[in-house]
């Protein structure tokens, strides 16, 4: 059974078609990159998957369950975690409390009490390497630390699918390599399928994804293994324009 299936999903904002008849399939434990230039509908697609928006047409199926109109707070416990492009920590709470929130509300049983979630938080924070910052207010972290904290917060939810919105944007190349290695390792250990959205940093895509889906003006342009997808002339055209006539 596939983990996530989108069937002809369309999301409009007034006359603007942000996501246009997109179908895709993600298997358990798979690493998929969603690539596309600015405004191609990547973020909207994410928002449709985790319930921030409901699509006008089409269906979203998670582990065989139709979740098309399920509110986001009911989707998270099913196993859909998310990080944001610009980190959105709960700024006044400590790192530990932030991560504990993930464990407390993001797990299916819903029966994780406060003390247990703080324990889970401690383990997860150690995993992402923020141990010495755990009692700091999340708002005071550096941008990279905030990203790590968001990943920890999502991991504490024990997701089956992790949506990563531009996890590498604005990072130093060395950090990117480290981050890629870390995410890969975590995904393998926890058997998490990762859908990473990437605008420009192809280095990250090549390093991570088994499969790449390219979006262009809301529609799916290419859905193929990474190398093949990135060399596709259509993709090159979307990013760089048409080759000039000789």
């Amino acid at each position: 059974m596939s983990l996530l299936i989108l069937e002809n999903v369309t999301k409009r904002f007034g006359g603007l078609v942000a996501v246009d008849q997109v179908s895709l399939e993600i298997k358990h434990g798979e690493f998929v990159g969603i690539v596309g230039p600015n405004g191609s509908g990547k973020t909207t697609l994410f928002n449709v998957i985790n319930g921030v928006f409901f699509p006008e047409e089409g269906r979203v199926i998670f582990e065989g369950l139709d979740i098309t109109t399920l509110p986001p707070y009911k989707r998270a416990p099913l196993g859909i975690g998310r990080t944001f492009q610009i980190p959105r920590p709960f700024a006044s709470a400590t790192v530990r409390e932030n991560v504990a929130v993930g464990a407390m509300f993001g797990t299916l049983s819903g029966k994780v009490n406060v003390d247990e979630s703080l324990e889970i938080a401690d383990q997860t924070i150690e995993r992402v390497g923020l141990k010495e910052h755990r009692n700091k207010q999340a708002g005071t972290l550096t941008p990279v630390e905030k990203k790590l904290m968001e990943i920890a917060r999502a991991l504490a939810m024990k997701p089956k699918l992790l949506l990563m919105d531009e996890a590498m944007a604005g990072m130093h190349p060395n950090d990117i390599d480290q981050m890629v290695a870390f995410i890969k390792q975590v995904a393998e250990e926890d058997k998490i399928a990762i859908v990473a959205m990437v605008e420009h940093i192809m280095r990250a895509v090549v390093g991570m994804a088994e499969k790449v889906i390219v979006l262009h003006q809301g529609a799916k342009l290419v859905d193929a293994p990474t190398k093949e997808a990135l060399e596709d002339p259509k993709v090159v055209e979307v990013y760089l324009g048409r080759p000039s006539e000789k």
């Binding site: 985790n50 319930g51 707070y73 009911k74 416990p77 929130v101 407390m104 509300f105």
Partner: protein, 333 residues
């Protein structure tokens, strides 16, 4: 994390403040009136803090819950006065009535207004107290603009002596009990899942939703809890202290503003904050009205400016940061 015994340490400074207030009021002649006013402001701050402080939503119509609470008590007394032998039980019925009416109103307001966020919520709620006031006056329910006066009924049910001590002493003790219970509930909320959910939604409601938090549910929990305390406070401090109720007096937005100032001044979302805020606000208002009469009405603006400039997190928020790593930290929440 915290051991069971240290879990309730933050209540110590809160209760110490109330104890000192109580002892001053009982032992220093002529002070009970000031103490009663301070207790009222502390209780008001604590009740409002459960909603404003923990969710970050500003409810400008908050006084409406105190208003209906006052009416709850007033109605219980006026309508049930003819029943023989009720005695003190009528006060309990009054409180139940106040709770019931505040809950009902908060569910109705919450179901509509809590769909809105930030400034939109604040503006939507401004209409609540004014609307209720004009509704009661216009539709002439509960005696309309003539209000309910029930001094006679109180005297008749409880006897002149008891009724008089009720008004001058026991009503204030009830306010104190309300304040103490609000402190317990606040700490319980802060330490439980509810507190974590409220912090998350206060900081970033969309992120909170994506983390699996049913934000509407937790907002309503905070809203109704806060409204219930307001209802009880109205019943105790307004209906029992001054046994009459007039719509323009109990739906006066002025009290909402005072509640907002107390919470922000003390430190919103903290346990100790509303107590500190209530004391500072109440004492400055009281002595200003004695030494520079008229100026107590002007203190809102300077207080707000001082809060914003000097300590945007309130007095307790500032102390909390300063003593973060010291032994005092476990007492200040």
């Amino acid at each position: 994390m915290k051991k069971e015994s240290t879990k309730y340490y933050p209540l110590i400074p809160v209760f110490a403040a109330y104890l000192v207030l109580f002892l001053i009021g009982r032992n220093v002649p002529g002070m009970w009136q000031l103490v009663a006013m301070l207790l009222f402001y502390c209780a008001l701050g604590q009740a409002f803090n459960i909603f404003l402080g923990m969710t970050g939503y500003v409810d400008f119509g908050y006084v409406a819950f105190m208003g209906v609470g006052t009416y709850g008590m007033a109605l219980a007394i006026t309508k049930l006065a003819h029943i023989e032998g009720l005695g003190i039980a009528i006060i309990i019925i009054g409180f139940v009535m106040a709770l019931f009416m505040a809950t009902l109103l908060s569910l109705a307001v919450g179901a509509v207004a809590l769909r809105l966020r930030g400034a939109y919520f604040a503006i939507a709620t401004i209409g609540v107290n004014e609307g209720l006031r004009f509704f009661i006056e216009g539709a002439r329910i509960w005696n309309g603009s003539e209000g309910l006066i029930f001094t006679a009924q109180l005297n008749q049910i409880l006897g002149r002596e008891t009724a008089s001590t009720l008004m001058t002493f026991w009503a204030d003790i009830m306010v104190l009990i309300i304040a103490v219970s609000a402190a317990f509930i606040t700490l319980y909320y802060i330490r439980s899942k509810i507190g974590y959910a409220l912090t998350a939604l206060r900081e970033d409601e969309d992120a909170a939703k994506v983390m699996g938090i049913n934000v509407t549910k937790y907002k309503i929990i905070a809203f109704v809890t806060s409204a219930c305390f307001a209802g009880l406070l109205g019943a105790a401090s307004w209906a029992l202290k001054t046994p009459y109720v007039f719509p323009p007096e109990v739906f006066e937005i002025h009290y909402t503003i005072e509640a907002i100032i107390i919470v922000l001044l003390g430190g919103s979302g903290t346990l100790l904050g509303p107590v500190v805020g209530g004391l500072i606000y109440g004492i400055s208002k009281y002595y200003l009205s004695i030494f520079i009469p008229g100026f107590q009405l002007l203190i809102f603006a300077p207080i707000i400016i001082i809060i914003i400039v000097l300590f945007p997190e309130g007095v307790v928020g500032m102390l909390k940061n300063r003593f973060k790593d010291s032994a005092l930290a476990q007492f200040i929440i």
